[in-house]
Subunit: 260 residues, 2 copies
């Protein structure tokens, strides 16, 4: 039996940063056909709010440490301000959105990251996605909008990477749906030449991926992203797409799509 399609669309901080770009993205999102889920972080908005409140961002090896104060800011900004404004705007576009953290309907449970060399604080690594509960919302014709927050099941909220939430939710929902992930970011896709924004590699599979690795086209920042993509594909996701938001329209085919 062929499964119904489900799109999991993740937007990055650059889209949330300013109101016009968020509102034009939401228009595109509202027109995406079929069942869909939106995943967002909050990016610089949380940093700006933390700094207004006099909270100094603690970084170790370029990574943010989530102490109790920072977690409060993230819960306010991602779970409240950004999430609820997205939901209200989607309602205006006649999308029956519902804003969620991983605590809501116990949708995403995480383990607090164990302290090794670095104590990341209140950061969660996803343990379990409650696909049956999320499915109840989708079956009711609601469109889930996830912010980048999970919980440990014992009352503790945890800051969680939005890319990971997108891939883990997609993996979880693959039991029920044929899932595709769309990672919307600032580039047009994986680029053959980082200086040429139009040198998009349109298709990558496990075999061509090796070639791209060997020739050094995929390196540094792109490497962990691509590793995540292949992890999702190996765990049931059908396709992962990377590009700017216009890849959600049928007019633009200039983005990277990745399959096994």
């Amino acid at each position: 039996m062929t499964k119904e399609k489900l799109s999991i669309i993740k937007i990055g901080g650059n889209i949330i940063e300013n109101d016009p770009s968020l509102s034009s993205f939401l228009k595109l999102f509202s027109k995406v056909e079929g069942k869909k889920i939106l995943v967002h972080g909050g990016g610089k908005r949380a940093t700006a709010m933390a700094s207004k409140l006099g909270i100094v961002s603690k970084m170790v090896d370029g990574r943010r440490i989530t102490d109790a104060e920072t977690l409060e800011v993230i819960t306010m900004v991602y779970g409240g301000l950004v999430n609820k404004n997205i939901v209200a705007q989607l309602q205006a576009l006649r999308i029956d959105a519902i804003g969620l953290t991983g605590a809501d309907i116990n949708s995403i449970q995480s383990d607090k990251r164990p302290v090794k060399e670095i104590d990341f604080g209140f950061v969660g690594d996803v343990k379990e996605v409650a696909s049956n509960s999320i499915e109840k919302l989708i079956q009711a014709n609601f469109t889930p909008v996830f912010s980048a927050i999970t919980h440990d099941g014992n009352g503790q909220l945890l800051n969680t990477n939005a890319d990971t939430i997108a891939s883990q939710v997609a993996i979880g929902m693959s039991k029920i749906y044929e899932t595709s992930i769309y990672y919307c970011f600032e580039l047009n896709g994986v680029l053959r030449d980082i200086k040429d924004k139009n040198s998009v590699v349109k298709h990558i599979n496990a075999k061509t991926y090796q070639t791209l690795l060997n020739t050094g086209i995929i390196a540094n920042g792109m490497l962990p992203k691509l590793e995540n993509c292949f992890d999702a594909l190996k765990n049931g996701v059908s396709k992962v797409n990377m590009g700017n938001t216009s890849m959600l329209t049928k007019e633009n085919d200039n983005f990277t799509s990745i399959t096994l």
Copy 2:
């Protein structure tokens, strides 16, 4: 056909203010039998956050004006910080909670209060409760947790009185359920003598209400609350209860219950 029972429980700022009182309330809430909905404001937490951010609360005739900055704080504090921490704590108590504003699943639509003598800013008066959508969540065994925020359907979030949200949600759900409202507040109930905290009037109905009014026992602060209760009762709600949180247990019968 007898309708199934649904309890709508509203907590005030005094319970949210400190962690131990919130956590003991949530334990009581988790033990309430049958289907239930929680409604909360955020009270002083929003004022404290606003003041940290250097936002001066504007009051006219003792009532707060919700300008754009204040609405942002309310969305962060009520919709994010307070709501998501309540949801995470309820999950730890094995209540499958889902945090909502009126924008989520378009559950509560409001009209921005018209500007007359006073411009209250981004304040909403409830227009419509989507009882069928809320019912889908309840049927899925989720427990809705409403923060005191609604929306206008055109993308604008609106600050809305939590007592009103409780009564309007209860009225809306009365089509489907036999509804009871529990207003948890600092007093033990409606008091015969304001100086004697144990002088609780245990039962009020439309007839005895008139007597209480005539004898001046119900006056000032209590009057609008009681008017709201009778409004709810006249619009389908079966019973309204007022008292401290222990009225949710079977041990305490020392609270005020109001019927037509």
